[in-house]
Symmetry: C2
Subunit: 153 residues, 2 copies
């Protein structure tokens, strides 16, 4: 049996492939969906908070936000209260794709759980939430580590 | 309650942060661990098969293998039987870090499941394997889609 982590990583990567394909946009991949949800739900959130929310290191978040800004999906403004901090806002272009992104995510979640008995799903969800909490604790001391997630991907 | 996919993605990203931090190498991140396992387990596997095995699109795999080759972790050779195909081999440098990569993965898997009752874990694993199979079916028609996973990340 594959390890828990290997299975989760495979599901996560398949989800990216599926979502990229379904959205049919040249410049938005499955890997951007978490950014779209976070930014649309929290207009004006700082870059650092987005990194914490999505659980990515700051340099990856800065790079991806630069990519989204160049393509007109977000704007960034310096925080009046803290000039070092950049606040992120969705543009109309991002808000326009949100319903599709949401529908694709719902479709994927539904397909993933389809046919699995509700009592098993309930246990699954509860274990998953425990694991998520633990994962965030284990990685939390390192979220400011600019070395994380480095490399070519 | 967060959706199943959101939780899995968060766990996956936290795992990357944790693994990058624990390995303490400037040029290897958590995102490379799946490559290291696959390449060391299957020396001489083709790039295309690696893409299928890890569930990433070919362009991401080509880019990451280029990164690993530049840093001396792999070598690539043209397949004698099919000149268009590139076969990938781990170098001594990659084999040397494999025990650490393996130990960190085991440590993470153990920490993630620690304290969760065995009967719940059993159901969890079984549901996860069903979902993994389904995810691979849903994404399989798109694994050759070079548009997948595009973007800044």
């Amino acid at each position: 049996m594959p390890t828990i982590m290997r299975s989760m990583n495979v599901i996560s990567r398949c989800s990216n492939i599926y979502k990229t394909d379904k959205l049919r946009l040249d410049d938005i991949g499955g890997c951007h969906h978490a950014f779209i949800f976070t930014i649309c739900r929290n207009p004006g959130m700082s870059q650092d908070m987005i990194a914490k929310e999505i659980c990515l290191n700051k340099s990856t978040v800065t790079r991806t936000l630069g990519y989204l800004e160049e393509r007109g999906y977000i704007t960034r403004e310096h925080d009046e209260k803290d000039k070092r901090s950049l606040l992120v806002y969705p543009t109309d272009k991002m808000l326009a794709i949100l319903p599709s992104v949401r529908a694709i995510a719902a479709e994927w979640n539904e397909a993933l759980a389809d046919g699995i008995p509700e009592d098993e799903l309930e246990i699954f969800r509860s274990v998953l939430v425990t694991m998520q909490k633990r994962a965030m604790e284990l990685a939390v001391s390192d979220t400011d580590n600019e070395q994380s997630n480095k490399g070519a991907r």
